[in-house]
């Protein structure tokens, strides 16, 4: 192949790739997206956020940094807002911060991180480090990670909120652990957000946590909506049901995500991915049209149980 031919093919290929990658964004822009209110303020946020556990922990690798920047850019292009991380996630906060400095489409960012230590002094340091890494003067949400040192850290977070350095306070857990402790904290009315695991397989939160969050007016972030990718392994090559299109799903990622975000008390689900194409699939689940109803959610659950 001659140089000019190769160059022409490269340019055409790049244009085609750009067109393909921008298509979902264009198609989404014509459809309304699902936004949910934060009960404490009635501010609304996009119902699909982005987790960064494992996927954004890439160290100082410049090639991978560029890839993750593209993922985050796609997220914002397709209506994403909430980005969740933690000092516990290795280099994730640094990588998110580097990506944010390179992006120009991140105005909608809803920044969510955590404190993860039992020491109040160290928690303060962690918060300052997070601010520097993300390059944020004020965080939208800071959560107590896995309830570590919860009493001390909630006191610190209230202080930071009074100083206008954070907007909302939350607590997190995952893998179905510490639910009774979360319930106690929720009932004390100290937090505006709670984060726990909720997906089509691990749906025990429906029994107590989700109704309680609804009653008390606490926003819910659902982590592990794909159960860390495990759900895709469980369904193997099973086809989607014929009626999947009626609930707005064209692939399993959307099936799982729409099951989670269609719960009336879930504010936001935070799937994690390191790939642009997966981010596009995830964000397409945001379309408001054909959001599953309560009876359709039951059907989705039944079908999932049948195929695993």
């Amino acid at each position: 192949m001659s140089f000019s031919n190769a160059k022409r093919q490269f340019v055409l290929g790049s244009l085609a790739a750009a067109a393909v990658s921008s298509f979902p964004a264009l198609s989404l822009s014509s459809n309304p997206l699902l936004r949910k209110p934060i009960p404490a303020s009635s501010e609304t946020i996009s119902a699909i956020g982005m987790g960064s556990w494992i996927t954004f922990n890439i160290g100082r690798d410049e090639y991978l940094q560029e890839k993750r920047t593209q993922v985050l850019s796609t997220f914002f292009d397709m209506g994403g807002e909430l980005v969740d991380s933690s000092p516990m996630y290795g280099s994730s906060e640094q990588v998110i911060g580097n990506a944010l400095r390179r992006l120009t489409n991140d105005d909608s960012l809803f920044s969510a991180s955590k404190v993860w230590t039992s020491s109040p002094n160290q928690a303060r340091n962690q918060f300052q480090t997070s601010r520097q890494l993300w390059d944020q003067r004020q965080f939208d949400l800071i959560q107590v990670h896995n309830l570590v040192g919860c009493e001390n850290q909630l006191a610190l977070l209230k202080e930071l909120k009074q100083d206008n350095l954070i907007r909302y306070i939350g607590v997190t857990t995952s893998h179905g652990r510490r639910h009774s402790q979360i319930v106690k904290i929720m009932k004390r009315n100290e937090v505006e957000f709670v984060q726990f695991t909720y997906n089509i397989m691990d749906n025990q939160a429906q029994a107590q946590l989700l109704p309680l969050a609804g009653d008390l007016g606490i926003a819910v972030i659902a982590n592990r909506p794909f159960r860390g990718g495990h759900l895709f392994k469980r369904i193997r090559q099973a086809p989607l049901p014929d009626w999947a299109v009626e609930v707005g799903c064209s692939n399993w990622a959307q099936f799982f995500l729409r099951f989670v975000i269609s719960h009336p008390n879930v504010t936001c689900a935070i799937p994690a991915t390191s790939r642009v194409d997966h981010m596009q699939q995830n964000m397409q689940a945001l379309q408001l049209q054909n959001m599953p109803t309560a009876s359709q959610r039951k059907l989705m659950l039944q079908y999932f149980r049948k195929v695993i």
Binding site: I54, T55, L64, G90, G176, M201, R227, H230
Partner: protein, 230 residues
């Protein structure tokens, strides 16, 4: 509800870990070649007692590089626990320096041979295994990659007769186990290597010592294993 599984404690993806190790090995190949060449040279060109002391000195330098550069600088960027593994590596520096300057009693012939067997494995056999497993040529990675360095450290410690030898073996074996767990979690096909080779070395050393004991006095075998004395 799902509960924690071992893989839930992995902070990074297999791809990112493998890329980090591959890049580090590539960037430090000159150091690895130098360390391997030096170890091979002193082992083949000097008497066993001198060779072993020089090998301990080279290993001390290798652990310094591996602990600081690989664990604390590179691996810790995706895994905070690597800092502790780096400290474990650095703790071995005074230990190996001490062994390189003090008078060392060599083990039985079969124990001494473990030094040569391990080095031969790392230089001649391991690259072939890696080629068969990964489909590409990989340099032994001594002083740059944890498993070959740890295997050489264990091999050389088995080749001497030293009081409280098990104490000296504690850190290399701990590192070997932690590395094997990491490799298992990132689904690396070579995750059993450290365990298998260490087990073979232990079996060989024990078998050799047992045979020697049998020739002398059967009853002295157990105390010999425990104390490492004649």
């Amino acid at each position: 509800m799902s509960n924690y599984e071992l893989e839930n404690f992995l902070l990074f993806s297999a791809d990112v870990y493998k890329r980090l190790v591959f890049t580090f090995n590539n960037d430090n190949i000159a150091i690895s070649i130098a360390a391997t060449g030096l170890l091979a040279f002193v082992t083949l060109s000097t008497r066993p007692a001198t060779a072993i002391k020089l090998c301990f000195a080279i290993l001390a330098a290798s652990w310094a590089w591996l602990g600081w550069r690989f664990y604390i600088i590179e691996f810790a960027s995706i895994n905070w626990f690597a800092t502790y593994m780096g400290v474990l590596c650095l703790l071995q520096i005074p230990m190996f320096i001490a062994l390189s300057i003090k008078n060392i009693e060599l083990g039985y012939k079969i124990e001494q041979s473990l030094l040569y067997i391990t080095l031969s494995y790392l230089i001649l056999v391991r690259p072939i295994i890696l080629y068969l497993v990964y489909g590409s040529f990989t340099f032994p990675g001594l002083a740059v990659s944890p498993i070959p360095t740890v295997l050489f450290a264990i091999g050389i410690l088995f080749s001497i007769r030293q009081q409280y030898r098990w104490l000296f073996l504690l850190i290399p074996i701990s590192l070997m186990i932690l590395e094997s767990i990491t490799l298992y979690l990132v689904q690396d096909e070579m995750w059993t290597e450290g365990i298998v080779i260490t087990a073979l070395m232990m079996m060989l050393a024990t078998y050799g010592r047992y045979n020697i004991c049998r020739l002398k006095d059967k009853t002295s075998f157990l105390p010999l294993v425990l104390t490492q004395r004649k």
